[in-house]
């Protein structure tokens, strides 16, 4: 399997992300499913194609109690990933230190396989706007994002993966999104988390070419892939797709995932679900589909290797 080696940044954090070696397809960890997860037979875990779970880091900003205990119980048998939604890498870095202090405490205890955040802004003038607002893709915003990633990585003492946003409209920009993200990654030493559903939504909402986008991202920068469901806007319908995480993964998103795996190679793939939570069995079935894409890719890469050996 492929190891994605990321550029060493100036603070000299550990920069290796074992992509695909430890982790297969994972799921968002939902409190509703804890009993099902803890009831999974331990002997199946090893053969379970490296199932893992991702949580929103800030949901665990608690001093103690059952929430942390549940996560501890899950962590005993599974790898986990911390996915931040409140870091505001693109703006208002004054409160970053206090934020990353809490993230670091969780990282120290839970030793997550992956840590990620978003290439967006969500804080301004000391207020937190609890959503993921895109940045204008300008040199100025790029500097701000790189500074934010640097503050975050310095605060937690390791590198992170940064996720592409969902775009609902275009803002005035100096560069396209792949350029913007790749530049941020190369200059900060972070990796990228490519959210295929966000990319699909952005392509439909703003008319970009999703495949061309994927081809512009160097595979070695990609440490994780997300897929999720989306919904049409209640008023504007299919002309505006919303990143709801409230529906099963749509067929075109699965198709784009297949293309992404072909371009990037095997990477941990997360099936995200945050609303209209279905049964664990139903979510596991979606996760099995994602795993089958990874298995198929692995099989093809092995066949390619064997073929080359026969030819030689």
């Amino acid at each position: 399997m492929v190891k994605a080696r990321l550029k060493v940044n100036k603070a000299g954090f550990p920069q290796y992300i074992v992509a695909g070696e430890q982790l297969g397809a994972g799921l968002s960890l939902k409190p509703e499913h804890l009993d099902d997860i803890l009831a999974l037979p331990v002997e199946q875990l090893v053969t379970n194609n490296n199932l893992w779970f991702e949580v929103h880091t800030e949901n665990y900003f608690v001093a103690g109690g059952p929430r942390l205990n549940y996560l501890r119980a899950v962590r005993e048998n599974f790898d986990i990933s911390f996915h931040g939604v409140g870091g505001s890498l693109g703006s208002d870095h004054k409160s970053m230190l206090a934020h990353t202090k809490r993230v670091k405490a969780l990282i120290d205890e839970f030793q997550p396989a992956l840590v990620s955040e978003h290439a967006v802004w969500s804080k301004s003038d000391g207020k937190y706007f609890a959503d993921l607002m895109p940045l204008p893709r300008t040199q100025d915003a790029l500097e701000s994002l790189i500074n934010g990633i640097d503050c975050y990585q310095t605060g937690i003492g390791r590198s992170i993966l940064v996720e592409n946003p969902s775009n609902y409209l275009d803002f005035i920009s100096d560069m396209d999104e792949p350029q913007f993200l790749v530049e941020a990654a190369k200059r900060s030493g972070c990796g990228l988390l490519i959210d295929i559903n966000n990319l699909y939504i952005s392509s439909k909402n703003t008319g970009i070419d999703a495949l061309d986008y994927l081809k512009q991202i160097p595979a070695e920068l990609v440490g994780e892939i997300h897929i999720a469901g989306h919904d049409p806007d209640p008023a504007l319908g299919q002309s505006l797709l919303i990143d709801s995480h409230a529906a099963p993964v749509a067929t075109p998103v699965w198709d784009l995932l297949a293309q992404a795996i072909e371009i990037f190679g095997q990477r941990p793939v997360l099936v995200e679900r945050d609303a209209n939570i279905p049964s664990f069995t139903e979510l596991m079935s979606e996760r099995e589909t994602a795993q089958s894409y990874l298995n198929q890719s692995e099989l093809e890469s092995r066949l390619n290797i064997s073929h080359k050996e026969v030819v030689r």
């Binding site: 505001s88 609890a130 204008p136 609902y168 803002f171």
Partner: protein
């Protein structure tokens, strides 16, 4: 165009709903209405967090009324940290001011549905129910005890010949104490348990309520005057067990000290104060 100007304009839109300052930053001016997705996401995130953090309050006034009140709170007090865990610290006080203002202006905040008796019934106890919801949340998320005082622990100390009355103890971090109006605690319990048969007779005196976490679940009960004195004595940095129980006995000389102490141990209410 600087990033700061863009974020200031976007912030203004999120706070006011006025997109005019964002026009300069949008590639396609006909798409400016799409900014609403972000504003809706902001409000939905915050309102959903308030619903999660104040569940009995929402149950009492109904979803629509609660959402209306929650949106007003988000307008006035947007979150200040990059998390919605614990959002709503000042929500109970905000509700109190809202009710006071509505009474002053003689305008009702809530729409009364067929199942609800009157707006004044909805106001009654609402602030205290919000306080109880928040205290429940704080108890649930509080730090775990470093060294909870248990019956086994006490047995060991007694075997070591340690004089228990001199033992310095304090309340465990999950213990929340609050005073609420007359029937508010009973109403909160009945909302929580869906047991509307619970006696909600109005009481002229305040209830002193204690919430604490035992084996991951939050418990709640009202305290008698001697128990209040005991718990107050053990708040903060704590006190010796002897002093704390003496304080309780001064309020009620018939206070059953051994019974109360056993209950404290069984419910893991105390931890040893390490100096």
């Amino acid at each position: 165009m600087s990033t700061n100007q863009y974020i200031d304009a976007f912030t203004r839109y999120l706070r006011t709903g006025d997109p005019s300052a964002m026009k300069h930053f949008c590639e396609n001016p006909s798409h400016i209405k799409r900014l609403a997705v972000y504003r809706n996401g902001f409000y939905k995130g915050c309102v959903d967090a308030l619903i999660a953090n104040f569940p009995m309050c929402e149950k009492k006034v109904g979803s629509e009324n609660f959402r209306k009140m929650a949106r007003l709170y988000v307008d006035r007090f947007p979150p200040e940290q990059g998390t919605l865990v614990g959002y709503g610290l000042s929500f109970p006080d905000f509700i109190a001011r809202l009710i006071k203002d509505s009474e002053f202006e003689n305008k009702h905040i809530f729409e009364v549905t067929v199942n609800q008796q009157s707006a004044s019934d909805l106001y009654m106890n609402l602030v205290d129910i919000a306080h109880l919801d928040y205290a429940w949340l704080m108890s649930l998320m509080s730090a775990d005890s470093i060294e909870a005082l248990t019956i086994e622990h006490i047995t060991q100390l007694m075997e070591q010949g340690i004089e228990l009355t001199e033992l310095n103890v304090k309340l465990s971090p999950s213990v929340q104490l609050l005073s609420v109006n007359g029937s508010a605690f009973f109403e909160w319990i009945s909302l929580k348990t869906n047991n509307y048969g619970v006696d909600q007779a109005k009481s002229p005196t305040d209830d002193f309520v204690m919430l604490w976490r035992l084996q991951g679940a939050v418990q709640a009960r009202s305290l008698c005057s001697a128990e209040v004195k005991l718990m107050q004595a053990l708040q903060g940095t704590g006190r010796s067990l002897g002093d704390a129980f003496d304080a309780a006995v001064t309020v009620d000389e018939n206070f059953e000290v051994s019974e109360a102490f056993t209950a404290c141990l069984q419910n893991e209410l105390l931890e040893i104060q390490i100096n």
